[in-house]
Assembly symmetry: C2
Homo-oligomer: 526 residues x 2
Amino acid sequence: MTKVETSGRSRRFQRLRARRENLAGSPVESPYVQLENPYPPLEILSADEVSFIDASAKKLLQEVGIKVLSAEARAHYRQGGAEVDKESEQVRFPSEMIETLMKPVPSKFSMYGRNPVRNVTMGGGVGGETSRVAFGTVSGTPFLSDLDRGRRDGDKAGLIELAKLAQYYDVIHILGTLIEPLDIPVKMRHVETVRCYMTHSDKVPFVRSQRRQEIEEAVTLVRLIRGIDEDRLYKEPSCYTVVNMNSPLQLDELMAQGIMVMAELGQVVIVTPFTLAGAMAPVTLAGALTQQHAEALAGMVLAQIVKPGTCVVYGGFTSNVDMRSGSPAFGTPEYTQAAIATGQLCRMYNVPFRSSNVNASNAPDAQSAYESQMSLWGAVLGGCHFLLHGAGWLEGGLVASYEKFIIDVEMLQMMARFFGNLVVDEDSVAMGAMRDVGAGGHYFGTKHTLERYDKAFYEPILSDWRNFENWSEAGGETADVRANKIWKEVVAKSPDTMLEAGLEEEVAGYVAKVEERVKRDTKKSR
Amino acid sequence: MTKVETSGRSRRFQRLRARRENLAGSPVESPYVQLENPYPPLEILSADEVSFIDASAKKLLQEVGIKVLSAEARAHYRQGGAEVDKESEQVRFPSEMIETLMKPVPSKFSMYGRNPVRNVTMGGGVGGETSRVAFGTVSGTPFLSDLDRGRRDGDKAGLIELAKLAQYYDVIHILGTLIEPLDIPVKMRHVETVRCYMTHSDKVPFVRSQRRQEIEEAVTLVRLIRGIDEDRLYKEPSCYTVVNMNSPLQLDELMAQGIMVMAELGQVVIVTPFTLAGAMAPVTLAGALTQQHAEALAGMVLAQIVKPGTCVVYGGFTSNVDMRSGSPAFGTPEYTQAAIATGQLCRMYNVPFRSSNVNASNAPDAQSAYESQMSLWGAVLGGCHFLLHGAGWLEGGLVASYEKFIIDVEMLQMMARFFGNLVVDEDSVAMGAMRDVGAGGHYFGTKHTLERYDKAFYEPILSDWRNFENWSEAGGETADVRANKIWKEVVAKSPDTMLEAGLEEEVAGYVAKVEERVKRDTKKSR
């Protein structure tokens, strides 16, 4: 697996890890640290159909365009060659502008974790090279839920617990925002959340799209904790943001800031239109995909105008609503098809593809699992490079569920194992063993089995394979109840901090400075 | 969809269906009656690896062979060119024998339901033609389980309830045995089960591999109920059996009878080795697949010796055990890989591929759903033509669960929808609608939406997409609890019989005759 550099910082992390007694999943040994999807992507659209959607999206951008609520962004678009209508704030794109601006987009790039073993390669799969896959946690949920404490507002304590879970499992490569901690003052949330993420995890964190100053402060804190200077940060993307286009065909001020400021700082921008077919997008999947494509291109192009070559990712989120109630649905067959089609649209531009592990269930039950699997397979078969909401998403994204987090980790680890090699050679075909055992025997105690059994198969963390009698006697716990026990164990044995004492003070000092700045601003605005 | 012939029998069925008021899913309108998988199969093995496994399996059959416990089968094998060792009962296959005998195997054939709309095409996918997919119910479980009555021995009442569920949902094409009805005397079970299946369903039934006379009587009953003569039955396979090789490398008397008698009668033989890696097969997946391949070929070849061109299906069931406890596991990543690899081995011989929807959970919970999905996707991506255990399987096949049945129907219907076409054309790309709605609007009330909303998306039978508040107020039921209500509704509104009065008497008469024969035999053997 990935070799660990023995720099000073890295050695500190090795000591930290050594301290975490009984904490399994050390990244040095784990098969989950870097994943490759060896399967060629599935194609649901013909080449002509992909071209038709692309051409239609560009026609839409040319004839209708998008409404951009940020004056700064409109100025950038104008400078990049777009026509801007001052009154309507509508931005229209000449036909060749998109293609020209999308050319320098990297098809593969690295994101840098605080711990070098957490560096993530994003993209690949072009021209026969392997396609990398990274899994991220749930992101952006206002509510929290677990079987003991029920459903409640997101808070800092919950954010810390989820960050510990995210850190513990190596199959989680990247942090989402996890939840919205409502007990942290709004004006301090941008730095306090980053402090939480990075105190409890050494994986690449999320920075929200917000006002310029807030983004800059959050990214500065990421840089301080990584212990690097601005030049290096600019060359080593160390955090990312997700920009949700305000579908249909609109980009608001904060989302525009997210694109522009993160691009300026050399960080990663994921553009994800929220195209729910039947609500914010046409009821036809082809229509919703066309709109998604137009919006994604418009967003990624802004990043390229600000800084050509900005590392951007195309986020596919097209799903459908329940036409009887208007409720959003996720992990539907239409969602799966849209994910696969989106992969094809991404490959047209050689841009990395982000998808999600989503469902619309209200409980960590069978529905949550089968809808998640439908979205997971859509992502994997679509050749997705980054799966956000990989663990913990419930209720269509309103809730981060602790139990679903564990269920999802199990599903992600199973998928990671599915990416593994099925070895076919003289040794694995085991002709000798079959000859020895012959007819009617068994392989339990054979030499061939004993030499291989401990690494032969995926070992689950959650699935219970005992027979009914043993399972019943032990309490007859369903998967959600078992998941409840697991997350509590992990949280309990996770370290209180992953920051060294000196660094913790440095972080506190920076956060205090931001607090002073916020106080000054509040006074001014009174 | 499929047109309904208006023969006398068919008209009777139309009347029957018309009687079933409020019973949705009429096959005439249902999109689930005949399914095609439009996606090309995934390949996990290189062509060389497939050839190596095939060559190794044939080498195993040549050098080690299989132990055949039936003298009649050994005689057939000898006549077909195999070397038979009288003392060890070992049958060895000269290298070219397998390939020669497998040549007349049909790559695609029809199975005939009592109702012509229930006819099923099995196979396809060779040379650019579409690949057909049929889903079958759970099969062979000794126990029954539902949330109200708990876990209990299989009985006739349960068999009838499950047959009603199987009949109700058009996405179920073929019946498995469902359960073992322990309250029906063993010696009458072969005809009583067929009577149950066909009284409550017009879909293709399963006939167990058992003694010659029992198979013949069961098939005769199928023929009587279809109302056809022996010649027509011979040309129109109207039932099937599943032969489990007694892995490793053994074929017992009853299983051999199943192959020989069903082949003689022109019915369908599915040969499924039970190759659990680490227990009855090598711990390496390649080894387990090699053994599976050898056993499947040996079984299918027997059918070809008895009647060249017999409709056979290659059953892939390779999974692994939990190496800590020896418990069988299903829906593991290794299972998924094995299913995909098995599809490649089937295509080498152009023989239809049977797979399964399986899991090892003890409850209809999240584990049951994610393991099922792993096996379902293995089947679909492997190009499977017949999915047995499609609905109702729990506890590694020991239990038929009513709630899991409904959960599975939902998953199968989602998969059926995933097989549907993603239409990309001027109309579906909806440029006009997007122009009309413009930036920041919504599509809820637009003409484009209203004209299409009722058929735009898959409508679930089980998934609950309400928001948390509405869901909680309505009782906060998880998927298993909702499934419990659904199956009870379906059973309650299903007809008491699907046989006309005259036919019911005819069936009763034949069963009485068999009962007399059984009594005579019992007397004789005293």
